[in-house]
């Protein structure tokens, strides 16, 4: 940092003394707080190297044609133009699939998380922990550990548990190949994702419910709140906005980055007839199968933009002040 700042200091010597004074003050303050920067340094270095720089690089690579080995070639907006005019798989499969998937798993999972957290909160204190564990355990086990469960449950023959159940009930006549049939794959992905969506955000909501001031309910009752639903809308949710927002952010991230679930279910990097093709799969396809890194980066920039706007929306709903 020293070497970088020295020439700038020399420059300011010729400038009006006001600037120089300000610069000197800034510099002494920086030196006074040196230990702060020292404490921050390890985190900040990794943060910049593995988060800031990759995002900037993705933004730059998006304007290039690059195969990972040869030379970078700048091609301007061509990637983006191709993405929205020529990429049929993206437009007809990845985009609608992701849209449907995110719309159900995101808000759906979020509402279910809140509902279950609220219901758990109504239970006596001693037994709450067991319920918390029951809902949280699947997400804790994680996608990798549970994929064997889904594979066995949705197995395509009569031995598959889901098939067996439906056959017993007489709802279907012959076993359905759940995971390979394009008709069902996306629906099963949504179901499975909802099942494991009670994660960090769910815990945050549980904690948030504990922070709500009990006296507010009393006061609300006097002011004319008559049922539980009104209580939830007018007292509970406004009182736990910080946790609601945190949870919303976690849900958005979790939903948009989901992509490995289709691979885990079908065992194929590209699902049959692109039935479970999400934007993340599209990125992986172009990046690590076709090695068109520039194009893949353009797609990931689009995904980052979408998650940014989803975040803005969440802040609008629950944020206390206009940030971002």
């Amino acid at each position: 940092m020293n070497t970088e700042l020295a020439p700038r200091a020399a420059e300011t010597r010729r400038a009006p003394s006001g600037v120089r004074l300000r610069w000197n003050r800034f510099w002494t303050e920086m030196r006074r707080d040196a230990f702060c920067y020292l404490f921050l340094a390890p985190f900040l270095v990794c943060f910049v190297a593995f988060i800031v720089v990759p995002v900037v690089m993705a933004a730059t690579l998006g304007f290039t044609s690059y195969d990972g080995f040869g030379k970078l070639r700048f091609i301007g907006f061509d990637n983006y133009i191709a993405l929205f005019t020529q990429d049929i798989v993206f437009l007809t499969k990845a985009l609608p699939n992701t849209f449907l998937f995110a719309l159900i798993v995101g808000p759906g999972g979020y509402l279910l998380s809140f509902l279950f957290a609220w219901l758990i909160h109504q239970l006596p204190l001693r037994i709450r922990d067991y319920y918390t564990l029951a809902f949280y355990a699947p997400s804790m086990a994680g996608g990798v550990a549970l994929s064997v469960v889904w594979i066995a449950a949705f197995s395509g023959d009569r031995v598959g548990y889901f098939n067996h159940f439906l056959l017993q009930m007489g709802w279907i006549d012959s076993p359905v190949v759940w995971l390979q049939d394009p008709k069902y794959l996306l629906k099963i992905m949504i179901l499975v994702s909802l099942w494991i969506s009670f994660s960090v955000g769910f815990l945050a909501m549980l904690a948030g419910l504990q922070t709500v001031n009990r006296e507010l309910y009393e006061a609300g009752r006097i002011d004319g709140i008559s049922n539980r639903l009104q209580e939830v809308f007018y007292i509970t949710i406004p009182s736990m906005k910080p946790q609601m927002l945190f949870s919303a952010v976690m849900t958005i991230v979790g939903t948009l980055k989901a992509g490995s679930i289709s691979t885990q279910l079908t065992g194929l990097p590209i699902t049959p007839q692109y039935a479970g093709h999400l934007v993340i799969n599209h990125i992986d396809d172009y990046a690590f199968i076709r090695f068109e890194l520039g194009y893949a980066s353009a797609v990931s920039v689009m995904l980052l933009l979408v998650s940014y706007f989803a975040m803005r929306f969440a802040y609008r709903l629950f944020g206390s002040k206009e940030e971002l």
Binding site: P54, M140, L146, V148, Q180, A204, G267
Partner: protein, 285 residues
């Protein structure tokens, strides 16, 4: 107990029983994996399929560990890698994040607001979206096939710092002020006061960090080309990916899945109370 029971209305009774059923339903995958892992080979082919194990056996775990005999990389190597990476990552994330969070929460300095808002913004960051540049950076720094390649990317954990900032901010500033007057150094204050006082938050981020690292397949797939440097999660993932049309390996994969799940469960059960305690302070305000 009796007083408690008397207050329960029929509505609550219906609610609790319905909810219990729901909770049981939601935890089915866990019950299933537990049973599946102990099923002997012949029970996998039973018709009608049985949910619960009838003659539990440890054969699956045995064959998992003895897979060494005919595989290029023994199971124990994956296990060792996972344990080493998870352990080292956990310790370094705790140290690095707490240090950063301490100064961010308790001191005023230039660029602080900028850094804080960047951390809040990057909560939405999912490493999966920028896998390519990350791969380029890792190979540019020559971290491929090293343990640093596993650990360093995990150190950039905005969620950990974010939660810790929220928690440390509510530690009274007077405590730190008093320690400073008594002549404690910055490092001394950090080690003797901030670290012990933020144990609940540290427990929480330990759980998430451990879960993240323990279940991470991405790093092993992208950054590690050498099979001997890959982790247990990757191995389990590859075991499972061959199973779609093949029932016979399911019990072994379930056993491996169970091995993935058990450490998470133990850590969570140990720290559960602390988690909720931390979450109260770490919403986005």
């Amino acid at each position: 107990m009796i007083r408690r029971l008397r207050r329960i209305t029929p509505f609550q009774y219906a609610l609790v029983s319905g909810f219990t059923l729901l909770a049981a339903f939601m935890s089915l995958p866990i019950v299933f994996i537990l049973n599946h892992a102990f099923k002997p080979q012949n029970e996998l082919f039973l018709f009608p399929p049985r949910f619960f194990v009838q003659h539990p056996t440890l054969r699956n775990f045995e064959s998992l560990f003895l897979h060494a005999a005919n595989a290029t990389v023994p199971f124990t190597r994956y296990l060792f890698n996972s344990l080493l990476v998870a352990g080292l990552t956990l310790v370094s994330v705790i140290l690095v994040s707490t240090m950063a969070a301490y100064v961010l929460a308790k001191y005023d300095f230039h660029f602080k607001q900028l850094i804080l808002s960047m951390i809040t913004l990057s909560l939405m960051f999912a490493p999966e979206t920028v896998g390519i540049p990350r791969y380029l950076i890792i190979s540019g720094m020559r971290l491929n096939d090293t343990y640093f390649g596993h650990i360093l990317p995990a150190l950039a954990s905005p969620i950990a710092v974010f939660m810790l900032v929220g928690f440390i901010a509510q530690i009274p500033g007077e405590l730190i002020e008093a320690a400073r007057i008594d002549g404690a150094s910055h490092v001394g204050i950090f080690i003797r006061m901030v670290l012990p006082l933020s144990v609940p938050a540290i427990a929480t981020i330990s759980i998430f960090t451990f879960q993240g690292v323990w279940g991470d397949v991405e790093t092993s797939t992208l950054f590690m080309q050498d099979e001997t440097m890959r982790t247990l999660a990757f191995y389990v993932n590859s075991l499972v990916s061959g199973l779609q049309n093949n029932v016979s390996g399911q019990n072994m994969a379930a056993a491996a899945g169970l091995l993935m799940f058990i450490p998470n469960l133990i850590i969570f059960l140990l720290f559960q109370r602390k988690v909720l305690e931390t979450m109260i302070h770490s919403g986005i305000k």
